[in-house]
């Protein structure tokens, strides 16, 4: 599953992005699951707030990182789409 640029993703109740002090890294906590989140993925998830569209998230990342917008858009839409399919993100 791939998210659209116009989708507005959000973390529903029961899904939490947490900075784990013990492991010194981000984890995404969901029912019966935890996801090991690298820095880039954490940067995406920190922008998932239920108001920004996927397109706006891509714009924000494109302004921050030295990478083509299309490349970032592909990665972000795949990652968010994957988490939608797993019912970790809603839109």
């Amino acid at each position: 599953m791939r998210a659209e640029e116009t989708d507005v993703p959000r973390l529903p109740r029961g899904v939490k992005l947490k900075y784990d002090q013990v492991r010194s890294r981000h984890v995404l906590l969901a029912p019966e699951r935890a996801f090991d989140i690298d820095e880039t993925a954490a940067a995406v998830l920190e922008l998932v707030d239920g108001t920004r569209t996927c397109g706006e998230i891509v714009d924000a990342l494109a302004a921050r990182y030295d990478e083509k917008r299309e490349v970032i858009a592909d990665d972000v839409r795949d990652m968010i789409g994957d988490l939608i399919a797993r019912r970790v993100i809603e839109r």
Partner: protein
Amino acid sequence: MSVETIHPDNRAADMPLAAPQIGLPIGILAELTHRCPLRCPYCSNPLELERREAELDTATWKRVFTEAAGLGILHVHLSGGEPTARVDLVELTAHCAAEGLYTNLITSGIGRAGVMIGPLAEAGLDHVQLSLQGASAENADRIGGYKGGHAAKLAFARQVTDLGLPLTVNAVIHRGNIHEVEDMIALAVALGARRLEVAHTQYYGWAYANRAALMPARADVDRSVALVEEARRRLEGVLVIDMVIPDYYARFPKPCSGGWGRRTLNVTPTGRVLPCHAAESIPGLEFWSVRAHALGDIWRASPAFNAFRGTDWMREPCRSCERREMDFGGCRCQAMALAGDAAATDPACSKSPFHARVEALATAEAAATAPGYVYRTIGGASALPQGGRT
């Protein structure tokens, strides 16, 4: 960017957070009480159930949860018995939330669950896992041994979703309800669940005692697995379905608890800390209690946790097996129950010399007329036939 699943239990997923020997635990199953209004014949609690007077008090549980957070534990599973039988459950949940722990309520939805769920949601509860015994009220109430239970559960599920809490439905599958798998999938969707666990019975505790009444035929198992696989595709983005396979019919064993002493720990109502809920069925293991030790010391140093940690304890065929760090030799409790030796290869594995016998046993039990259930009750273990059933 990478997003890797690091559990659920019983699954051979990457575990990048843990070191190979003594890593950091990720989950704790808190069996707050063994009291429960239901009498399911497959209950995972031990045959000798603990009584209320022996349960840990509120202050001790709070200390355990604080220590769990400090140890790197991410998820707390508030379980039982029926955890809402504990009047301090709201206070304990609030404490876990304040410690930054993810709280999962594992409930029957019966008894005090309905009046407690609102306050629990306010206290910061993150997720509810509700058990269903079947898809029809008549069958479900017969299996759970509690008239009116199924209707109460459906009403409870509505309360959970009305509060905006994520809901998982847990359905334990056996020969008495395997024909209802399709209906249970539809029911989970109708109830607004995000997840469904189709958990084929694992034979420990009461389920082991009732195995002949519960063992499904292989053809029915295959049909249920096919139904789940079809539903997963059809319901992508609607319902996530996790499945636990019945391992008497399997080729390879499950990586029980993700490996002994590797990811999870289990605290009994009286405070003993176990690597898995059935570990007390292995004779000779020394379990430490939270009454006497800090949780971190128990995790690292208690004899029971180190008994089968890693791969050094293994004999052949496990020791040289290419799957030894995928399934960790399977389940120690099942090796004890079926091979009479906790350090043997799990007989669910096709490499075990006991495997053919276990498969034949399952096939014969499934083909025979099902005996009546021995329902779970406190003190009810005395009604069971003496000796093993293997």
